[in-house]
């Protein structure tokens, strides 16, 4: 795997999985509320944004200008 591909994979896949599973692990029995939501719901809602940020970063930094896009002529 080329370096860019590896970094893209870490950003777009590894980080969101670790984020979600880490949250489930840490907050599994917690009854705290955040903005009125049970904390684990809130944590997953937060990842709706964070995942989009991760994917956008992976796109901007590693995927937008890789060899294949040059081939597609865009």
């Amino acid at each position: 795997m080329a370096k860019g591909k590896l970094y893209s994979f870490i950003l777009s896949v590894v980080i969101p999985y670790l984020g979600i599973f880490g949250g489930i692990y840490f907050f599994r029995f917690s009854e705290k509320m955040v903005f009125g939501f049970p904390i684990l719901y809130f944590w997953i809602f937060l990842w709706f944004f964070l995942t989009t940020i991760c994917l956008s970063l992976a796109w901007m930094l590693f995927d937008k200008d890789d060899a294949r896009s040059a081939k597609e002529g865009k």
Partner: protein, 472 residues
């Protein structure tokens, strides 16, 4: 209730108009145009088609009902698996597109056929996919019956089913996948708005987010995991379903409609934001726990009944139309995936120029059979639906092998799939629970082990296909 029905009908008629408009744009001869839109869809169309497929009527009807009946852990794994599907999809679906492009594939089974030049592997994959795809149509029919009943029309199920089947058939008969794609845009806007409106109505009525959850807690709702088994099931289900997601046969069809790999990645970036409807959708589950305890024998009515409880009739018309359109759209794309598998992979040697006509007929036959089964034997398919993700996931090791592993053989993949399916059925019907881990994951482990061992013993057959990820 009459205003709601008028609005409902007007919206459905309008989408039929969109279908005919889409029909004018399509290439009438080509099966590739019919099944995957000639691989021409742009970022925006792809975005709406994909999110449209993901949020079928099962989400709108099923998710609030599932949380109402199944509680906190259901809500967590459902939300987490979808958001991680997008994350994993960003990585895997461009590679699936590349395989489709490389082999000029229109169905999931086409990739297997071309990569290994193996007719028997193609058949095994197609049969497994069909076995689990067929019952998904039934889910859509049932969701529609729920919606129509909730509108106040206690029509017999067969009428609802015939209407749904007819509309889905009209959508795709004029232009294949192009009309569901266009209608998806319209439907997603209605549905997103409807869910947000219902959610806001709930939060206003109970006085905010915290009172809603505290109120539900006072009625006995539990807002955390209760034990290790729930956590094991949640985590294993999230992993299984998020990785399987873009390998579902009808999602592969959607991936194939894209213009390029880059188009998929671009569309993929914003899909998690579509999930912002869930904080509103989930409000209906907890509202129902507080105010609508009588729903416990039909939890699927949670969303619609909550909406009717809080909002005026004309708004209900929009909401019901959005829900029904989700069902029609998913039904039509599933029909296309089924037709593609039957015409290209099951029936031998249908010439390319006749495939579109054959597909049209297959869609009709498939819809009629599903309608009959839904009405006549409503419980027959339930077991297959419960095992569907476990079943579909047995295709995943094979797809990964095509993309990444040079040494996998057709026999290895076939043996893996057969063993995996057997294990799914044994665990499911034998009610065998291993630390509450999702049976699909356990079956996938058996599947991969079989794949590796059998491939090692059948290395002679290797035709040295380059793994898709290595193509440039």
């Amino acid at each position: 209730m009459s205003i709601s029905i008028i609005i409902f009908a007007a919206i459905i008629l309008f989408t039929l108009g969109i279908a005919f408009y889409a029909g004018k744009q399509s290439n009438k001869q080509s099966v590739g145009d019919y099944l995957v839109g000639g691989r021409s869809f742009s970022v925006m169309i792809l975005f709406f088609l994909a999110v449209g497929e993901i949020y079928g009527i099962g989400t709108i009807i099923g998710f609030p009902g599932g949380v109402y009946a199944g509680g906190f852990s259901y809500g967590i794994w459902f939300l987490a698996y979808i958001v991680l599907s997008y994350s994993f999809g960003y990585f895997i679906s461009p590679l699936i597109w590349r395989a489709g492009h490389q082999y000029n594939a229109l169905t999931a089974a086409d990739i297997f056929k071309e990569h290994f030049s193996s007719r028997s592997l193609e058949l095994v994959v197609a049969v497994v996919l069909l076995m689990f795809l067929v019952p998904w149509a039934q889910l859509q029919f049932e969701g529609l019956i729920v919606t129509l009943n909730a509108l106040g029309y206690d029509i017999p199920p067969y009428i609802g089913v015939v209407i749904a089947g007819a509309i889905a058939y009209i959508y795709i008969s004029v232009s294949g996948v192009r009309s569901p794609a266009l209608i998806s845009i319209f439907k997603d806007i209605i549905l997103f708005a409807a869910i947000v409106v219902v959610g806001i109505a709930v939060y206003q009525k109970v006085g905010g987010v915290e009172p809603l959850f505290l109120g539900a807690k006072a009625k006995g709702a539990i807002l955390k995991f209760q034990n290790g088994s729930e956590i094991n099931f949640a985590i294993s289900t999230i992993i299984l379903q998020s990785i399987t997601f873009y390998c579902l046969p009808h999602l592969i069809t959607v991936v194939f409609t894209s213009k390029s790999e880059k188009t998929i990645q671009k569309a993929q970036r914003f899909m998690p934001l579509y999930m912002l409807m869930f904080p509103f959708l989930i409000a209906t589950s907890y509202y129902a726990m507080i105010y609508l305890p009588h729903l416990s024998d039909k939890p699927n009515h949670t969303f619609i009944v909550t909406a009717i409880d809080l909002l005026p009739s004309w708004v209900i018309g929009f909401i019901a139309a959005g829900a029904a359109l989700s069902g029609f759209l998913l039904l039509s794309v599933i029909s296309l995936a089924v037709a593609g598998l039957i015409v290209r992979n099951i029936i031998p040697n249908v010439p390319e120029r006749s495939q579109r006509r054959y597909s049209q007929t297959s869609v009709l036959i498939y819809l009629v059979i599903s309608m009959i089964i839904t009405v006549a034997l409503p419980s027959l398919m339930l077991n297959l639906i419960s095992t569907a993700y476990g079943g579909f996931s047995q295709i995943v090791p094979g797809i990964f092998a095509i993309i990444f592993f040079k040494r996998a053989t057709a026999k290895g993949i076939m043996a893996g799939i057969v063993v995996g399916i057997i294990v799914v059925f044994i665990l499911y019907f034998g009610k065998i629970s291993i630390y509450a881990i999702n049976p699909g994951i356990i079956a996938v482990i058996f599947n991969i082990a079989t794949l590796i061992v059998v491939s090692a013993f059948t290395q002679k057959e290797v035709v040295n296909r380059t793994p898709i990820a290595h193509l440039n």
